[in-house]
């Protein structure tokens, strides 16, 4: 089973990209723009329920995860966010902005060796976004941004479980290289919209806004209430 398009009154916009691609900045600016037009917009983050979060952080700390359980526990986490927030808000007619979506899971799990078909089926309960922007940045740029700014890498984040290298920075580099290759495949297979993330921030943002205006009837999402919703 693969993802299906939704028929909900809301719209789902996702951003994807390597760590350090600048996607979080871009989705933040997009959110601000929509809010200031008084639109019904909701931004979802990876803050899952306490229970699932407790399980996954315990598992990560103890380094108990294999590719399959890593994939499943994150899918559980995502399902919680999806069922509690994303799906109801789409039904309620919101523009839902998602910083990372199932594609992050696709590439991460595939990199760890889970079969592509299996991962796609796993996440098939989640609808396909109306638009997914992929912030395309060369691996070297993304590595520079991450490794110069925030050198404290976590075990799974650096792909240490894959045994690529015993040096955590080296492992991170090799892991990101594989993530990057898988992204390339997923971006073309799933029709993600590429944005050149080496361009100036404002230029990228204007491209994103322009694309959104062309593909989504934005005026219909203007809130009838005077009060702006800062989700």
């Amino acid at each position: 089973m693969t993802q299906i398009s939704h028929t909900y009154p809301g719209k789902l916009i996702a951003v994807e990209g390597l760590d350090g691609s600048g996607k979080s900045t871009q989705i933040y600016l997009l959110k601000r723009w929509l809010e200031m037009q008084n639109m019904k917009v909701f931004f979802t983050q990876w803050n899952s329920s306490k229970i699932v979060k407790a399980a996954s952080s315990k598992a990560k700390k103890r380094q108990l995860l294999t590719p399959t359980t890593f994939s499943l526990i994150h899918a559980t986490d995502f399902a919680d966010r999806y069922e509690q927030e994303i799906a109801p808000l789409l039904r309620a007619g919101y523009i839902v902005l998602s910083d990372r979506y199932v594609y992050t899971a696709y590439v991460r799990d595939m990199t760890r060796g889970c079969p592509k078909k299996w991962v796609k089926n796993l996440y098939s309960f989640a609808v396909k976004p109306d638009i997914t922007f992929y912030f395309d940045v060369p691996l070297s740029v993304s590595l520079d941004r991450i490794l110069s700014g925030r050198p404290e890498l976590k075990y799974f984040e650096a792909g240490m479980d894959m045994g690529l290298s015993t040096d955590i920075q080296e492992s991170f580099k090799l892991f990101q290289k594989r993530i990057c290759d898988h992204y390339d495949t997923v971006v073309s297979e799933e029709g993600l919209v590429r944005i050149d993330a080496t361009k100036p921030i404002r230029e990228q943002q204007l491209r994103v806004r322009n694309y959104l205006s062309k593909h989504i009837e934005l005026p219909q999402f203007v809130s009838q209430n005077k009060e702006v919703h800062y989700g």
Partner: protein, 230 residues
């Protein structure tokens, strides 16, 4: 040699798994636990190493899963995947290592119960089957079939009250727990019969006495154990 339903677990070689994976399926209160205990003693008496496993017993997420059930704050898809995580952890860390050591694994329910519960709650059977492609195909699946009306009696013999989940109260099938239990267990039974079209279950009449059932199970298991005795 063991086999997966689908592509299986990444980086897992199942060529060398010499043990036997035996599953007993059935509803709550259908008598599985008594049978597992009896069969375990019977096998150990013969000198087999026996490991028993069951759902919701992983080191990874069992505590949180129990907590989630109690608080009833997670929705269906999330619960499905939480159970799948629990199962995967046990498969990788208990079942497969035990099979590698040549033990006999007795499973107090396997993926079929999880799939039956989820389909009754609206999950797509196709979605579930594909998720559980990472599961090993058991050497034998026994299904202890007990009619819902008899299950209620058994349930009361064990517990003073009908449990929320065992009665499927989350589904809103009936306003009271007794009717809900019967309706829910009927649905579970139908789901099992549907699964049986794809997965071969050996059905055992759960209305027989405990001793009769044990003998029936022993008869079914014996030929499978022969290959452990070269």
């Amino acid at each position: 040699m063991a086999k997966f339903y689908g592509e299986g677990l990444p980086h897992c070689d199942v060529q060398a798994l010499s043990g036997k994976l035996l599953v007993i399926e059935g509803a709550d209160a259908s008598g599985i636990t008594s049978q597992i205990n009896a069969i375990k003693s019977w096998l150990e008496n013969q000198g087999y190493s026996v490991i028993d496993v069951g759902i919701k017993r992983s080191t990874l997420v069992s505590e949180e899963l129990i907590e989630a059930q109690k608080s009833n704050t997670l929705f269906h898809t999330t619960m499905s995947l939480f159970y799948a995580t629990d199962f995967a952890d046990q498969l990788e860390n208990k079942i497969i290592p035990a099979l590698r050591s040549g033990a006999v694994i007795l499973c107090d329910r396997y993926i079929y119960t999880l799939m039956a519960r989820d389909t009754v709650r609206g999950a797509s059977p196709e979605w579930l089957e594909k998720i559980y492609e990472f599961a090993l195909i058991p050497h034998l699946v026994l299904y202890l079939q007990v009619e819902p009306e008899r299950l209620v009696e058994r349930y009361f013999e064990k517990n003073l009250r009908l449990g929320y989940w065992e009665s499927g109260m989350d589904l809103g099938l009936a306003g009271n727990v007794f009717d809900s239990f019967i309706l829910y267990q009927k649905k579970i039974k139908e789901a099992f019969l549907e699964l049986r079209k794809k997965f071969p279950f050996h059905i055992i009449d759960g209305h027989l006495s405990i001793e009769e059932i044990t003998i029936e199970i022993q008869k079914t298991i014996s030929p499978i154990l022969d290959s452990l005795n070269p």
